[in-house]
């Protein structure tokens, strides 16, 4: 196991290099002088020169890159022009909303998706299967933001069960806070559930032909035990292996959902920073998401190797 973890850790390094180089080059690819764009038309030449110096833009490109990576290692992501504070604290201010939203949606997506997919597979060809699969393909075809608009129209405008938009911080009470996240999480979660249901159904159909299922059945185990113990376990392992993909979809979807429901999360921050030309924040958000993403994928790989020993010996 130790050997496997070491090998896997080494493989992660190149995966980190690409986003870091890309994010660094991004700012340098901007048309015109980034300092001028960031400060706007009203800036004086002095202010521009000062910002250029603080961004290191007056240095040669290789030393800029070296300095930038050096600062990253000290968790220094730069300074936000709009918020007048460090990018790191701007990101941590917004991260908790995105974290809550993603976790809630993920839980919802796994529960609904696995249940739906298993039902469809076990009643294959029957009406349940048809209904679940039709709902699932509709789900993967809906734009998240439009699904969100419809949820707002139904549950916040027509029947006023939930607030139209906005976020109540955790500090103002746990339940009030979660209530403000119900519609957004429903929106993001149901669309991911559709994806998971499709995946679960094909996994179960695969597993059903495996010898261990036949053995379990021929031992005379009740069908309930076969499904819950043997099949469900295989499904969870296969979902574990695609968690990376699901998380990427969730994080991408969260951007649009946060904007639709006016939640002050990282997605909203990213979109607003694009409008404000706050380049250090854009870089910081992309870097933070990709680092989280890589870290979670690594963790999943370790878990996967723990659950499925075959992986370790490959």
């Amino acid at each position: 196991m130790g050997h496997y973890m070491f090998k896997r850790l080494l493989l992660v390094l190149p995966t980190l290099v690409v986003p870091i180089v890309l994010i660094f080059t991004l700012l340098r690819l901007a048309p015109g002088d980034p300092a001028v764009v960031m400060l706007g038309d009203q800036a004086t030449a002095e202010q521009v020169a000062k910002l250029r110096a603080s961004l290191g833009l007056d240095q040669p490109i290789y030393s800029q890159f070296g300095d930038w990576v050096g600062q990253l290692l000290h968790l220094n992501l730069g300074h936000s022009i709009f918020f007048q504070q460090s990018v790191l604290s701007t990101i941590t201010d917004h991260a908790s909303v995105t974290l809550q939203l993603t976790l809630l949606s993920f839980a919802l997506a796994v529960v609904v998706g696995v249940a739906g997919g298993m039902l469809a597979a076990l009643y294959r060809g029957r009406i349940v299967d048809r209904v679940v699969m039709i709902l699932a393909i509709i789900g993967v075809s809906l734009p998240e933001f439009w699904f969100g608009l419809n949820l707002i129209f139904l549950f916040a405008v027509t029947v006023r069960w939930f607030p139209v938009s906005g976020y109540i911080p955790l500090a103002d009470g746990f339940f009030a806070s979660e209530r403000s996240l119900v519609l957004p999480a429903l929106c993001l979660g149901m669309i991911q559930a559709a994806f998971i249901a499709r995946l679960t159904r094909s996994t179960v159909l695969d597993v059903l032909t495996e010898p261990f299922v036949t053995t379990a059945r021929s031992k005379g185990l009740p069908e309930r035990i076969v499904v819950l113990k043997h099949i469900a376990r295989a499904v969870l392992v296969s979902i574990l292996s695609t968690i990376g993909v699901i998380l990427g979809l969730l994080l991408s979807g969260a951007v649009a959902v946060e904007v639709v429901f006016a939640l002050p999360g990282l997605g909203q921050l990213l979109v607003d920073s694009v409008g404000r030309r706050d380049y250090p924040v854009i870089q910081g958000v992309v870097l933070a998401t990709s680092l989280t993403f890589v870290a979670i994928n690594l963790l999943v790989d370790f878990l996967y190797a723990l659950v499925d020993p075959r992986v370790r010996y490959e």
Binding site: P14, T15, L16, V17, V18, P19, L22, I23, L26, L27, L29, A30, P31, I137, I138, V140, S141, L142, P143, E144, F145, W146, L149, N150, I152, F153, V157, V164, R201, S202, L205, D206, L247, G248, L249, L251, S252, G253, V255, A256, V259, V260, G267, L270, V271, S273, V274, G275, Y279, I282, Q283, V285, V286, T289, S290, F293, V294, N297
Partner: protein, 298 residues
């Protein structure tokens, strides 16, 4: 599990090659894949409607009529009007031109580029080492986050949206094609060609590429649908196609502010996106089942 479908045509069976059998085969395809055919017809209808936009909609998409602000669906405006009095039917149809064009171009570039890279990567191990690390790195960034940040810095516009979405989807195609090439490379007919003294590029394009066509076609239909969703999302967020050109995404931007008073502003353009993407997905699923019979009935 019916294995008799496609692929059998590769052998030179005189009966299968006769025109009569061809027609019978087509009828089989229609009978075996009714939902795929329905989805194909739906797509065709959407494309025709979008191309014939000037004949269907009476108004121009950017014609502002202040007195007609926020009118519900009626005989004069089938889909109603928006907050500036613009006809939503016209905007949906003309917006479809932009969205479908972008989806198609992104699909062609991503699948073309991805296939080429996938072929080279799967065939030459040195290229594989380097390129696959870059592919992994690019896939370590959530698609929409990567696209928003690139567009945010490069500036919104049709070209940047196409370039950024292609960069997002090329790695996905590379992975799929590489997988197929790695399997085909090991088959005996590739060894035979080598023994006959054929050059590597000749084998690659003349023999390996045709065997990758099924995944290529399936990927093209899925990327087309992803790209339409992505463009809509980006433009809705205001970081895609600028407001001066209607697209399915940017006509929905204002709909959010009027959700409690003018539901028609969001319903119709959204339905257009959902129907198109749904048809593409059903069509793609059907293609996959047809071209890869092993996956059928899953």
């Amino acid at each position: 599990m019916s294995l008799e479908v496609e692929g059998g045509g590769a052998t030179s069976d005189p009966v299968a090659d006769s025109p009569l059998a061809g027609r019978r085969k087509l009828r089989h395809v229609i009978a075996d894949h009714p939902s795929m055919i329905a989805a194909g017809l739906m797509l065709l209808a959407i494309v025709v409607a979008v191309v014939l936009a000037p004949l269907i909609a009476h108004a121009r998409p950017d014609q502002i009529v202040v007195t007609d602000r926020l009118k519900g669906p009626s005989g004069a405006h089938l889909f109603g009007t928006d907050n500036l009095g613009r006809d939503i039917l016209a905007r949906t149809l003309y917006g479809g031109r932009t969205s479908l064009e972008i989806g198609l171009v992104v699909a062609l570039i991503s699948v073309g580029g991805g296939t080429l890279i996938g072929l080279l990567v799967g065939f030459y191990e040195i290229v594989d080492m380097i390129v696959m690390r870059i592919v992994d790195g690019l896939m370590a960034l959530p698609a929409l986050v990567l696209a928003i940040s690139m567009i945010g810095v490069l500036g919104a516009g049709t070209t940047t949206v196409v370039i950024c979405l292609s960069i997002v989807y090329i790695p996905r195609v590379v992975r799929v094609i590489r997988g197929s090439v790695l399997i085909i490379r090991k088959s005996t007919f590739v060894d035979d060609e080598r023994a006959l003294g054929q050059s590597e590029p000749y084998i690659l394009f003349r023999h390996v590429l045709p065997h990758c066509m099924s995944p290529v076609i399936v990927q093209a239909s899925f990327i087309f649908s992803y790209a339409i969703l992505a463009e809509a999302g980006l433009s809705f967020l205001g970081v895609g196609i600028p407001d001066s050109v209607p697209s399915w995404g940017n006509i929905l931007t204002d709909a959010r502010s009027y959700i409690s008073t003018a539901w028609w502003m969001s319903i119709f353009p959204g339905l257009a996106i959902a129907l198109t993407v749904l048809s593409l997905n059903v069509f793609g699923d059907g293609l996959r089942d047809m071209l890869d019979p092993r996956l059928k009935e899953r």
